[in-house]
């Protein structure tokens, strides 16, 4: 009787694994299905591996994944998406893609040094590489075709310009992670175009409650500050409350990054604008670029990064964007 139990456990395990394979199979046939619908377009048939530094379930990276997978369906490419925030695991995922001899590789480089060896192997193996999101400065050096992402200083400059146009004269730029170079670049970019005084305010993104009270305290103590730029959607919502707490109806609030609550706040006139770096494009474009490179030796960007942002979301397009956000593509 006991050996039967053991057998049962093994069979149950196999059944679970088999069921999962069936699930994977369905998805694959899904891909071919949409590919067939698109038979008039180019059936590239290439295999592209996307390896990001986003953990499974991360909201931003899930949109990137949707973009890459949709591009795969649209042009008939077989796209696999993997992600790990651990640089060692990410480099191993790149190694795995190289050993599968994929036709193209898309990598986000939060930690370029750690990926240099793995990306080098891909380049040596003749696999075209496109970097996305972060790591633009190392992209060319590592031998990537191009970089697709948002240049933080350019996005910051656009935010500063917008704040100025909206009538703010003194801007508080809220940095939510000490030492994050990208955030510093955004504030520096805003300072360049804003014209008026820009002051950086340090808060901690993992304690939004305290962040809100810090922003409120700043607004209460500095009556001349009439613009707030947050660099994260969570901090933006904390700032909405802070502005209410401080009773400062004159303050304009703009933010980086987008989510459903930020959209609601935009519709309710509590946030003036949100800057979207359009993660969907960071997944979609590289797959298309790689297909074009394979089929026609095209390259995009002319040695410069291809910018996916800043895309502005304000009251004029919030409804439209909200609809797409509901589908997981914005």
């Amino acid at each position: 009787m006991k050996p039967k139990l053991r057998l049962l456990a093994v069979v149950a395990g196999a059944a679970v694994l088999a069921a999962c394979t069936a699930g994977g199979g369905v998805e694959n046939s899904d891909n071919t299905g949409s590919g067939d619908n698109n038979a008039a377009g180019n059936q590239s048939g290439i295999r592209v591996a996307v390896v990001s530094h986003g953990a499974a379930g991360d909201k931003f990276w899930d949109v990137v994944k949707s973009g890459a997978e949709q591009a795969g369906r649209d042009i008939g490419a077989n796209v696999s998406y993997q992600g790990s925030g651990d640089p060692n695991q990410q480099s191993q995922l790149i190694d795995a893609a190289v050993s599968q001899k994929v036709d193209g590789l898309v990598v986000s480089m939060a930690n370029p040094d750690a990926l240099q060896e793995a990306i080098g192997k891909a380049v040596d193996a003749g696999i075209p590489v496109i970097t996305i999101n972060s790591g633009a400065e190392k992209s060319k050096e590592f031998g990537a075709l191009t970089h697709v992402g948002q240049t933080e200083s350019i996005a910051g400059a656009a935010a500063g310009e917008r704040m100025k146009r909206d009538g703010a004269t003194k801007l508080i730029c809220v940095i939510h992670e000490a030492g994050n170079v990208g955030l510093e670049d955004r504030c520096a970019g805003a300072a360049r175009t804003f014209g008026g005084q820009v002051e950086n305010l340090q808060v901690n993104v993992s304690d939004l409650n305290a962040a809100g009270s810090t922003i409120a305290a700043k607004l209460q103590s500095d009556a001349s500050a009439n613009g707030v730029l947050t660099l994260n959607n969570g901090v933006a919502l904390a700032a909405v409350q802070a502005i209410e707490t401080a009773g400062r109806t004159d303050v304009k609030l703009g933010t980086f990054d987008l989510d459903a609550q930020v959209l609601d706040a935009i519709k309710a006139d509590k946030i003036t604008f949100a800057i979207d770096q359009q993660p969907y494009l960071q997944g979609y474009l590289p797959v298309v670029f790689l297909a074009l490179y394979k089929s026609n030796a095209n390259t995009v960007g002319g040695g410069q990064p291809v910018l996916t942002g800043p895309g502005f979301v304000d009251k004029s397009n919030a409804d439209q964007v909200a609809e797409f956000a509901g589908k997981g593509t914005r």
Binding site: N88, S91, G179
Partner: protein, 345 residues
């Protein structure tokens, strides 16, 4: 005086071979590894190709080194939740000393080793002195190290990672020994795999062939009883914590030299993977039972499942689900095997 032949001692009766095989704690993990390998190998030719094997052995190797040390500790009846973050601490120490203070890689490694052993000693000392559960003691070490890793890194670099180890003197030699690849039959295998095999062999030998091995089983099985028959339980346990810290140093060094940069959050959360691998390998949470080989196979399963999912093309969103299933199956199998083993006495 008496010349009568004593009745056969039941402790000395021969247990039949099949039973002896099946009551090995690592049996579940070995069988699981075979099943997992067969399953993925059938579906993906790349998975079973030399390049594929080298690829999934790479994550298994660093996990395996840790899992073996953690298995010894668990057999000794204790946990170490700080083991994962300690790999980050040792890596960051190496990175900061070489990059910020221009040390040669070798003395920096030695310094990191001393630091790791000291942390392991403190862990062990506090556990045996206070008699508090090691879960709590090492949880506090885990939190403290996490804070130190971030705080110190930020203090010296103003960012959350340290890069540029490759430019340090001594890097080439050190990385050749710890981090590079060796070519076997035309395929590049990470040298960490050899370290993993060596650590497994050493741990297995110690556990099964030495007095120290008996002490470890005794300390974890029943510490008061072990003490009363003269087993130095205190020293054994402190030694086990230091062994885990040593393994964390080895893995931290391997990763730092391989990646040439270390993030301040490195290793956080991996302590549970070590424990899971050890449990899949037959270790009991209660101590006194388990094997080093088993933990190695547990790590192997981890590596194969992680990369197998990539090769087969499943949605990685489900990865953790498979891990959960594996853990459950392993624990059920172990539970069953142990009952079977007890019946056979």
């Amino acid at each position: 005086m008496t010349t009568a032949v004593p009745a056969a001692d039941e402790r000395l009766t021969d247990v039949d071979r099949f039973r002896r095989l099946i009551i090995r704690p690592e049996l579940g993990a070995v069988a699981g590894a075979v099943i997992v390998f067969t399953f993925f190998a059938i579906q993906s030719p790349v998975f079973r190709s030399p390049a594929g094997v080298a690829n999934w052995l790479d994550p298994a190797s660093t996990l395996g080194i840790m899992a073996v040390a953690v298995a010894l500790l668990m057999i000794g009846g204790e946990f170490d939740l700080s083991a994962g973050v300690l790999t980050g601490t040792t890596g960051l120490t190496l990175a900061l000393l070489t990059v910020r203070f221009d040390w040669n890689v070798w003395p920096a490694m030695a310094f990191a080793l001393v630091l790791a052993l000291a942390i392991g000693f403190v862990n062990g000392f506090l556990v045996v002195r206070t008699r508090l559960p090691s879960f709590i003691i090492t949880l506090s070490t885990f939190l403290m190290l996490q804070g130190i890793n971030l705080g110190v890194t930020k203090y010296f670099t103003n960012t959350v990672s340290v890069g540029g180890i490759a430019q340090a003197p001594g890097y080439q030699a050190a990385s050749a020994i710890f981090a590079k690849s060796v070519t076997i039959f035309g395929t590049q295998f990470r040298i960490a795999i050899l370290w993993w095999i060596a650590v497994t062999a050493l741990a297995t030998w110690v556990l099964l062939r030495t007095r120290l091995g008996n002490w470890i089983f005794a300390a974890g099985g029943n510490a008061p009883a072990a003490r009363s028959v003269g087993v130095p339980v205190t020293r054994t346990k402190i030694g086990l914590f230091m062994t885990t810290a040593f393994a964390a140093w080895l893995v931290g060094t391997i990763l730092a030299l391989k990646l040439t940069s270390v993030q301040a959050n490195a290793g956080i959360g991996q302590e549970f993977e070590y424990i899971i691998a050890a449990v899949i390998g037959g270790c009991l949470l209660t101590g006194g039972y388990g094997s080093a080989i088993g933990a190695t196979f547990g790590a192997l399963i981890f590596g194969m499942v992680g990369k197998g999912i990539v090769y087969v093309g499943w949605d990685p969103d489900w990865y953790k689900f498979f891990l959960g299933i594996l853990l459950l199956l392993a624990v059920l199998a172990n539970n069953y095997v142990r009952k079977f083993a007890e019946e056979s006495r």
